[in-house]
């Protein structure tokens, strides 16, 4: 008798995989087989559930395989496998602590898989995984779940933003943070939120709310998580964005490689992929930059938040945070105060205790103080602090670094609120520019130049400098009062207005010169552009339709013409002369009475350039100061800023100089020639050697025959070959490079 052949499927090892393959190819015909396996799955599940802790390895393995099979084909038999997701969820919820780690991973993976096949939706997946994430003691499971949660959220937001899902998850996270403020569970909320913020999946106010609540938690870890998010989350986001566009593909190189290597399907696919990626990147570059607000701007009720944060974590004497974390919280509070111009009076008196040179990381405190200052802080609150800094830090006896840091801190405060200084103190501090230490000198000079601009009256006459003295005499430099704000406006708007007037009168003159011509044309062309495109930009006279005539124009005249009547020079120059022009007149009404079109704005730019408006905007230092303040609004003051002048004139150590020299240069592990480094780089890129190199390396014995033959050539032969060589070179070599 012939031995019966065992069919492939009867080898118990390989069967489920091939069954899965067959089912996916033809689900209709294999329904019966699948149903059998479904029953087996059900039986195994019951066996497992009846004794999850003592299940034998064999059973677990079988169950594992069946779970895998069902997950892969669940979308094909939706009715049969309807209870499957619930089974998995229940299994995970009830037994995640005792499940075999491999099986546990499989169950999680299967859930994610059926989510990808859209058997279940993201919300139900995430609401299953999330409670386990925060309750499980197993680190591997946590890592797994965290990764899956993030990737699922990413996936479901990849095409369009899934607002519904985001809202649900954000609410879950919010509740997690607020429900139990003492537990560390909030950590997960902060981690997930921060990651999604970094990836720009969540960019609205709700995640900021979650983080805000995290900041107000009782648990130190959670608080630090939240605070760090506000201080560094946006920067992280920008960096992540830069990173993603970093990997550039050289299309030329890819194409070249394609021509050389063997042509295979795989290589072609890789090339197509690379090219499409490049196209995508280019598309991305051209796309308008997404308008992302920083987290600090999206906070709802910053005043209340900053106050609470301050009272809870800083003012509260029972708080036992480490100094480092306290500083973080302080940074956030002061950042908020500076950015939103909040008023927390008690904050300034709180600072007093920490402003001594002996205080650990005092420069951070000084930086925070500078950060917390803005022009709406009452000078009375700041003055004692400034005096304290001056007394504690700045004296002949103190170390030069300390004095420099002190003066610099005072300067940083004074930039933002110049009224915080008394005359005697300033004069005293300015005198430190006679010090021997360069850092102190620079700091004192900085303070002096600042006050020359903002409040020269406080300085002694000899320290005021030419410009300030002249400004004082002409009455141009005025001391700003507390709470006074700049009057806003559009730079050079007067120029535009004037130009428009000129255009109009020129048109009118031309019109009258011609004698007649449709009056209705006047306003149609009055702004000198094709008004079919920019109808909005035409003046209000448009509204009167066909009725426009010269008299109508005269009505409009006085309001818009006024600036031009003052002088022939551009209005800003006229202002420089100190002529009595009322403030109301100076502000053009153009922007308030009509809408500026893009064409208008372009013209405005051009005019500004012509009139060299930028020169009139103020001295360089003023501009620099403005920039400085702007920068600090964006990034905040750091301890480094305070310490900087102290380092001026200090000689750096050899290590520092070496590090500086090495910075930005290619890495050298060993001593090697530049040539060798270049060569190894080339090799790493997969490039081969040049012909020259090959020739040089060629075995001597192989070349010797040719060399001998060359020597034995007749004169004509030599000539022939030389000529051929020249001709070849002329036509661009073998590759015909020139042609």
């Amino acid at each position: 008798m012939v031995k019966r052949k065992v069919a492939a499927l009867e080898k118990v090892e390989a069967d489920l995989v091939s069954l899965q393959y067959k089912i996916r190819r033809d689900p209709q015909s294999y329904a019966q087989e699948f149903y059998d396996q479904w029953l087996s799955y059900d039986a195994q599940r019951q066996i497992f559930v009846s004794a999850p802790t003592t299940a034998s390895l064999d059973d677990v393995k079988k169950f594992h395989d069946l779970v895998d099979l069902v997950a892969h084909v669940a979308d094909l038999y939706p009715e049969l496998t309807a209870p499957y997701p619930d089974h998995l969820k229940e299994l995970l919820n009830r037994h995640h602590a005792v499940l075999n780690s491999e099986l546990r991973g499989k169950v999680v993976g299967s859930l994610v898989l059926i989510r990808r096949k859209e058997v279940i939706d993201s919300t139900s997946l995430l609401t299953t995984l999330f409670p386990i994430l925060i309750s499980t003691p197993s680190k591997t499971l946590r890592t797994l779940l965290y990764g899956k949660i993030i990737s699922d959220l990413r996936e479901s937001n990849s095409r369009t933003t899934n607002h519904r899902l985001n809202k649900t998850i954000q609410t879950v996270l919010y509740n997690l943070v607020t429900s139990d403020r003492t537990s560390t569970k909030g950590m997960w909320a902060t981690r997930i939120t921060r990651e999604l913020w970094r990836r720009q999946i969540w960019v609205d106010a709700k995640p900021c709310d979650v983080m805000k609540e995290a900041c107000l938690s009782d648990n130190e870890k959670v608080v630090v998580g939240g605070v760090r998010f506000f201080l560094g989350g946006d920067k992280e986001r920008e960096e992540a964005e830069d990173d993603s566009s970093d990997e550039e593909i050289d299309v030329r190189r890819v194409k070249h490689v394609g021509t050389i290597n063997k042509k295979t399907k795989k290589r072609r696919k890789a090339m197509d992929k690379a090219i499409s990626k490049v196209k995508k990147q280019e598309h991305k570059k051209k796309a308008p930059h997404p308008l992302n607000f920083s987290a600090l701007h999206l906070i709802h009720d910053p005043q209340g938040f900053a106050e609470k944060l301050f009272q809870k974590h800083l003012q509260n004497t029972k708080n036992k945070f480490t100094l480092e974390n306290k500083l973080l919280v302080l940074q956030l509070v002061t950042r908020l105060v500076g950015l939103h111009k909040l008023t927390i009076i008690s904050l300034y008196s709180w600072f007093v205790r920490y402003l001594t040179p002996k205080q650990e990381s005092v420069t951070s405190f000084l930086a925070s103080l500078a950060q917390a200052t803005h022009n709406l802080v009452p000078p009375d609150a700041l003055e004692p602090l400034v005096i304290k800094i001056a007394n504690e830090f700045v004296s002949e006896a103190s170390a030069t670094e300390v004095a420099a840091a002190g003066i610099n801190a005072i300067r940083e405060v004074a930039i933002r609120q110049p009224l915080c200084m008394s005359e005697t103190l300033l004069q005293d501090l300015v005198l430190y520019q006679r010090s021997k230490d360069k850092g102190v000198v620079m700091a004192a000079k900085g303070l002096q130049s600042l006050y020359r601009e903002v409040y020269p009256q406080l300085l002694q006459k000899k320290y005021r400098g030419k410009e300030a003295t002249m400004g004082l005499r002409s009455g141009e430099t005025k001391q700003r009062k507390f709470g006074e704000e700049d009057v806003g406006g559009i730079e050079g708007i007067e120029l535009l207005e004037q130009w428009k007037e000129e255009q109009k009168t020129a048109k009118l003159a031309a019109m009258f010169a011609e004698g007649e011509g449709g009056e209705a044309k006047i306003d149609v062309d009055d702004d000198g552009f094709d008004s079919d495109e920019w109808e909005v930009g035409s003046e209000e006279t448009d509204s009167s339709g066909g009725w426009i005539n010269v008299s109508d124009d005269e009505d409009d005249g006085p309001a818009t013409k006024r600036p031009r009547t003052d002088s022939d020079a551009p209005p800003l120059v006229g202002e420089d002369n100190g002529n009595a022009i009322s403030e109301a007149n100076r502000i053009s009404k153009l922007a308030t009475t009509s809408i500026l079109t893009p064409a208008d704005l372009l013209k405005l730019q051009e005019l500004r350039r012509e009139a060299n408006v930028e020169k009139l905007l103020g001295s360089k230092t003023a501009k620099r100061k403005k920039e400085l303040i702007q920068r600090h609004i964006d990034e905040g003051v750091t301890a480094d800023d305070i310490e900087m002048p102290a380092n001026i004139g200090k000689k750096s150590t050899k290590e520092e100089r070496l590090a500086m020299a090495k910075d930005g240069k290619p890495l050298r592990e060993e001593h090697k020639s530049t040539q060798a480094i270049r060569k190894s780089k080339k090799e790493a890129l997969g490039k081969s050697s040049t012909n020259k190199e090959k020739a040089r390396k060629k075995n001597f014995l192989m070349t010797i025959g040719k060399a001998r033959a060359k020597n034995k050539r007749s004169l004509t032969d030599t000539q022939k070959s030389l000529k051929a060589h020249v001709a070849k070179a002329k036509s661009g070599g073998r590759r015909k490079n020139g042609a």
């Binding site: 009867e10 019966q32 059998d36 396996q37 029953l39 039986a43 066996i47 009846s50 034998s56 079988k62």
Partner: protein
């Protein structure tokens, strides 16, 4: 001379630069250490070498664990044989108890080796029926898993286990949670009579054969056997209930004594997960019959009709099944319940 030249060359060798060749791997450095391997601990199942002078209890346990976990078919088979010997010896040597043995050995129901499965059945047969009965539900779970196993051989051998189970604990089998409906489901799926599949796939217009069965020819023997066991199962399910003989103490025992069987209030399902229809308990004949009429009667009769037409071995088995069914259902109608 020659040797000195050789020595010279050898000495020089150290200072020669290794030549690199295109397409060849770079030569390994002299002090190269291969770190590519990963160390793995080797776990050897404890297999004692010394045979004599071993504590019999210990040996029993060892064999039990070998039977359950050994990777080699023959070792499993031999271990099972040893266990059978011990259990069937007079006096019987069973230091672990039926429950322990069952927990360990039940996964072997769907073992890949035929010999092991055969020995397992033999071992089951030497277990005392009274001790098996409380574990009917558990055994049934494994049996159901085996009945729908991919491998045909395993299915057939599982039927033998089923047959044994019906023999020793027929009443428990049909009345335990999930024992009635789920087992019927498995049987009909085995025979290809399952109505669920058709409705789920909503395949109309095609007459599907009873079963495609991957790669194996479905012999009429196996189908006949399946029907035969199904008939036994139905017979057990529709067995008329005997009223328990009168016992004067029974009434008072019921009220005041601790119940003698495990989980006496299983039907209340106090601590388990809520059951669905399939895994519900159908403790008496009436309820079983009701559910059967509702869910399975049509499907099974259709299947029987089809099988009868096939004739031969299958037809005969179908006729026998039909007879059992008719008897069971009829009897229920005529005999009044007391």
């Amino acid at each position: 001379m020659g040797s000195s030249n050789k020595k010279k060359k050898e000495k020089k060798k150290d200072f020669n630069k290794a030549k690199l060749k295109v397409g060849k791997a770079k030569a390994k450095a002299a002090n190269f250490t291969d770190t590519s391997f990963k160390s793995k601990s080797i776990v050897v199942n404890q297999e004692a070498i010394a045979v004599d002078n071993i504590d019999p209890t210990k040996q029993f346990k060892q064999n039990l664990s070998l039977a359950a976990t050994s990777k080699t078919d023959n070792i499993r088979r031999d271990a099972l044989s040893y266990l059978i010997n011990q259990l069937s010896a007079k006096p019987r040597h069973d230091p672990i108890g039926t429950a322990g043995i069952l927990t360990k050995l039940l996964p072997l129901v769907s073992d890949s080796s035929k010999a092991v499965r055969a020995r397992l059945l033999a071992l089951f047969r030497v277990l005392p029926p009274s001790e098996v009965r409380p574990h009917a539900e558990k055994i049934l779970m494994y049996t159901r898993g085996g009945m729908t196993h991919l491998s045909n051989d395993i299915r057939n051998d599982t039927l033998n286990v089923m047959e044994w189970l019906i023999e020793v604990a027929g009443d428990d089998v049909v009345s335990c949670p999930g024992g009635w409906l789920k087992t019927l489901n498995s049987f009909s799926s085995m025979l290809g009579w399952n109505p669920n599949v058709g409705s789920a796939m909503s395949s109309k217009g095609w007459t599907t054969g009873s079963k495609t069965l991957l790669g194996t020819k479905k012999g009429p023997e196996s189908q006949a056997r399946q029907m035969q066991v199904l008939a036994q199962f139905l017979k057990a399910g529709f067995q008329p209930e005997m009223s328990a003989p009168y016992e004067s103490r029974a009434y008072w025992d019921n009220i005041y004594r601790l119940p003698g069987m495990p989980n006496p209030f299983a039907y209340l399902n106090l601590f388990g997960t809520p059951r669905d229809e399939g895994s519900e308990m159908y403790p008496d004949r009436t309820s079983r019959k009701r559910v059967f009429d509702l869910k399975w009667k049509v499907a099974i009769y259709t299947g029987i009709d089809g099988a009868k037409k096939e004739g031969g071995l299958v037809g005969r088995a179908a006729a026998a099944l039909d007879k059992v069914l008719a008897e069971g259902l009829k009897e229920g109608n005529s005999v009044p319940e007391n």
